[in-house]
């Protein structure tokens, strides 16, 4: 059981990267981005391309760091992938969602557009890489470290936790200390008033998509490192992502983080009683319960 909880925290931290981006976008634009999971997929696969195609071609060395399962290639790929998906997310907004916003389309039409975008991303991945599961480093041994209470954890997973902590801390500082960060929080509170104060809300929206996309990409890559890559991985994350976001209160970044950790642990603990394939159903059940009992999320302040 303790091991399940520990792995649940690892999984939860990966979910958190997606959920935080999702809640930021949801909070400012009031629209359910059904394509967010697939932004994670995009990140994972772009990293795959870099690590298995481009970097070998550029003769970047492949040696792994100690007991981790990756080396310089992945370290180099990580920020590049985050930047790529950030740009992709911004482009999706400019091309698909913004025209609908300008036309004052309802939330359902916007969500439908996001749904279409999610399929488009998934199809592109399927066309380029096929339907099989892939790995960044096939056939690697994954030695585990033993911790007290018979908890085993892999070095990769420790690094995942560190990375997520680092990214979340960065985001916190950004939102709390920088002008754009505060403008983002202000716009999430009250977009009309933000405009009235002279804030360039279009710029805020672009930054939001960029950050959301970058974080999602990071989550996708980390998942790929920890488990595997498959084209449906984003869709697979969708329910836990939304459950985490709703649990934490829409627009609440810390809520999304906690919500994601809860979802991760809940899903892992459920495998003690149910088949692992039922994990999405567990996420769904948790979400339904929250929606019925406290739709504004545990921390409130979310839009019910």
């Amino acid at each position: 059981m303790p091991e399940l909880i520990v792995y649940g925290i690892v999984l939860g931290s990966i979910i958190a990267l997606g959920a935080i981006g999702l809640t930021l976008v949801y909070g400012i634009l009031r629209f359910a981005n059904f394509a967010h999971g697939d932004l994670m997929t995009a990140g994972a696969y772009i990293a795959l391309f870099l690590v298995t195609v481009l970097f070998p071609w550029l003769d970047i060395p492949d040696t792994t760091f100690g007991s981790l399962s990756f080396g310089w290639r992945m370290v180099l790929a990580f920020p590049i992938v985050m930047a790529c998906v950030a740009i992709a997310a911004i482009l999706f907004d400019r091309i698909l969602y913004r025209p609908l916003r300008m036309k004052r389309s309802g939330p359902v039409i916007l969500a439908m557009s996001a749904l279409g975008a999610s399929f488009i991303i998934r199809m592109i991945v399927l066309i380029l890489w096929g339907a099989d599961s892939l790995f960044y480093r096939p056939g690697v041994l994954r030695p585990a470290i033993e911790l007290p209470h018979e908890i085993k954890i892999r070095p990769d997973q420790i690094l995942i936790l560190v990375t997520v902590l680092f990214l979340v801390a960065l985001l916190y500082l950004f939102l709390k200390r920088t002008k754009m960060g505060k403008a983002m929080r202000a716009t999430a509170d009250n977009m009309e008033l933000a405009r009235v104060s002279g804030i360039d809300t279009e710029k805020v929206i672009i930054w939001t998509w960029g950050i959301g996309g970058a974080l999602a990409a990071a989550g996708g890559v980390l998942y790929g490192i920890d488990v595997q890559l498959h084209p449906g991985m984003g869709w697979h994350f969708l329910l836990p992502l939304f459950a985490a976001t709703i649990l934490g209160g829409i627009g609440n970044m810390y809520g999304a983080l906690i919500g994601a950790l809860v979802m991760g642990v809940a899903q892992q603990v459920s495998t003690a009683y149910l088949l692992p394939t039922y994990k999405p159903a567990v996420a769904f059940m948790v979400m339904i319960i929250i929606l019925l009992v406290r739709p504004q999320g545990i921390f409130g302040g979310g839009r019910a």
């Binding site: 002008k179 505060k182 403008a183 929080r185 202000a186 999430a188 509170d189 009250n190 009309e192 008033l193 933000a194 405009r195 009235v196 104060s197 002279g198 804030i199 360039d200 302040g301």
Partner: protein
């Protein structure tokens, strides 16, 4: 000197016109009131002046510069600020951060202005790190006005500043409006509470059914029984 000139303004929502050819003027250092019954178009007037609504007809000039139909974020850079009636603060941001957002378009060192605004509203200084969402109605209204003042505006538009405030606070708010005016800001106040606002106004306009039906000095309107009976509920 005319700091704000509005001539024959016609505007509304969708197909219907709420304002019909309304003209008002605001001079430097003046306080003017826009009063009248519900639905007269008072808020619509402010929103059209500030660019939230686009007028079908007429023009708006700020210090002899035409600003008709410009978007709010352009107008705010030209020296006019607006305080909406509701949803006029950022609740999850602190008082300090709300004021900083007010100064968003400034590129200079505005700490002097922060001090000046805190001098106007001392109680805000004490709680500057508190989230605005947890403040009382009166304090929130002060934050709303403070935010608008951060840009050193020449003209301040206030939409029903005393709405939903307890009577004691109403008095306080109007005192603050006078204080703000003393620092050199010309103010347009839209109000349901005609009596209080006319007391502090140099001049006033009475709107009814989207049209200007009366204009005079603040004192004169207060003493005018007929206007009082017809439009201001006696």
């Amino acid at each position: 000197m005319r700091v704000l000139e509005v001539r024959n303004l016609t505007s509304g929502y969708g197909e219907t016109d709420i304002l019909q050819e309304v003209s008002i003027q605001l001079h430097e250092k003046e306080i003017i009131s826009i009063i009248g019954p519900n639905g007269a178009g008072k808020s619509t007037l402010l929103k059209t002046i500030f660019g939230i609504l686009k007028p079908r007809q007429g023009f708006v000039r700020l210090q002899d510069e035409e600003i008709t139909g410009l978007s709010p974020d352009r107008i705010v850079r030209k020296g006019m600020s607006y305080v909406p009636q509701v949803d006029n603060v950022f609740p999850s941001l602190t008082i300090q951060e709300n004021l900083e957002m007010g100064a968003f378009v400034r590129t200079d060192d505005y700490r002097y202005r922060l001090r000046e605004v805190y001098e106007l509203f001392p109680i805000l200084k004490e709680r500057s790190t508190q989230k605005v969402g947890s403040l009382s109605g009166g304090q929130r209204q002060m934050v709303a006005m403070g935010r608008a003042l951060m840009l050193d505006p020449k003209v301040l538009l206030l939409d029903e500043p005393s709405a939903s405030l307890a009577p004691l606070l109403v008095e306080m708010i109007f005192e603050k409006i006078v204080d703000i005016n003393k620092t050199g800001v010309a103010i347009v106040v839209v109000e349901q509470n005609a009596r209080e606002t006319l007391k502090i106004s140099d001049r006033g306009y009475v709107l009814a059914m989207g049209q200007k039906v009366f204009e005079d000095t603040g004192k004169a309107i207060l003493e005018n029984e007929e206007v009082g009976k017809l439009y201001l509920g006696g």
